[in-house]
Amino acid sequence: MIPRPFRIQSVRKETADTFTLDLKSADDGRPGAFAPGQFNMLYVFGVGEVPISISSDPRDGSTLKHTTRAVGTVTKALERLKKGDTVGIRGPFGSSWPVEEARGRDCVIVAGGIGLAPLRSALYFLLASRESYQKIVLLYGARTPEDILYRPELERWRSQFDLDVRVTVDRAGHEWRGPVGVVPALVRRAGFDPANATAMVCGPEVMLRFTVRELENRGMDHRHIYISMERNMKCAIGFCGHCQFGPTFVCKDGPVFGYDRIAPILGKAEV
């Protein structure tokens, strides 16, 4: 699969170490259809390729958005790019959040750190069809108040009457007026009907496991809990085997998995 050229419209700094690229296709101007939760392979010419979740609105036919953290060689090179530069894109790849299956149910979105990026597309989708869902709850945890991703958007969502947004941070000084603690603790406090809810969870793997435990404690069935996994992905088509996770490939069978499918292997050091 040959990468398509995309031109950078803007590079927006989100936090000290995260940024968002707004991209437009350099050939036909259209980003191509994708489902919330899917990812693209972004290619920095001469440096390398990296998988990054799509964080834009799936109904937006003009711009593709990718938010990532500058941690490795490729993502640091991406951060240095400027408006007008070109990157190569392969995708979209992988499975998606169960936004259609969740119609008629409460939706519990739980994100930790940069894990909010792949869930933003799902939120856009849910909010665009708000009448199709019951309660929508967004529980988000960040390291500090300065590390909160998409802060203006979160503030806007929080002001909506039909969306319950709760944000917690792991540590804070006296200037912070919100909750301090880890995001699984928010699951205990959130108002939703566990018997009629679908949970979508994304974040560091330890956070995923502890969040799932809290969802179980609330009485949620494994069949309605979905998590997005991260592994070292290279080819994105289930060919190279780098992202093998037990009997599955994260790039092809994931990154979004029903928890009932991977519960026996999640958290196993040998997998």
Partner: protein, 154 residues
């Protein structure tokens, strides 16, 4: 008044499923309290005379760190408990507690409740089981916070 307090205690999630007899027995140790936004509820080192079951608002557990200022370690929400220092010698607060928002709570006199627990060991065991669960949850949260999951190495 006492009857109303009994109902409030029974409705708090900490006491869910507790024997009515036990709730009647401990109601005399409880009172309703309010704290203004920003009000200090207790300070590190002070005798832990009371502990609190939150009904509304939010309380922060804080620590003054030299050269860094006031650090918020954790916040406690409605339905949750503030304080177990009353249960463990030397019965002094280990942290500062402040109302981040206007807060309503049930305050229990720790000495009074300890005396009731000595008098009725069934009650004591029930209270201890429930507090052990709270302490265990707090320990788990603290361990997760120590992991710094969202740091660059995560």
């Amino acid at each position: 008044m006492i009857e109303n307090l009994e109902r409030i205690i029974a409705e708090h999630s900490f006491f869910h499923g507790m024997d009515e007899r036990h709730i009647r027995f401990i109601v005399g140790c409880a009172k309703n309290v309010r704290f203004e936004e920003g009000q200090m509820i207790f300070r590190e080192g002070d005798p832990a005379v009371h502990f609190y079951f939150l009904r509304e608002g939010m309380v922060s557990l804080e620590l003054m760190v030299p050269n860094r200022g006031r650090a918020i370690l954790q916040t406690v929400a409605p339905g949750e408990v503030v304080g177990w220092s009353w249960l463990v010698a030397p019965y002094r607060w280990h942290f500062d507690g402040r109302a981040l928002l206007a807060t309503r709570a049930l305050a229990f006199d720790g000495k009074c409740l300890l005396a009731k627990c000595e008098e009725d060991h069934d009650l004591g065991y029930e209270i201890l089981k429930r507090f052990t669960s709270v302490v265990s949850e707090r320990l788990e949260v603290t361990r997760l916070q120590l992991l710094d999951l969202y740091g660059s190495a995560a």
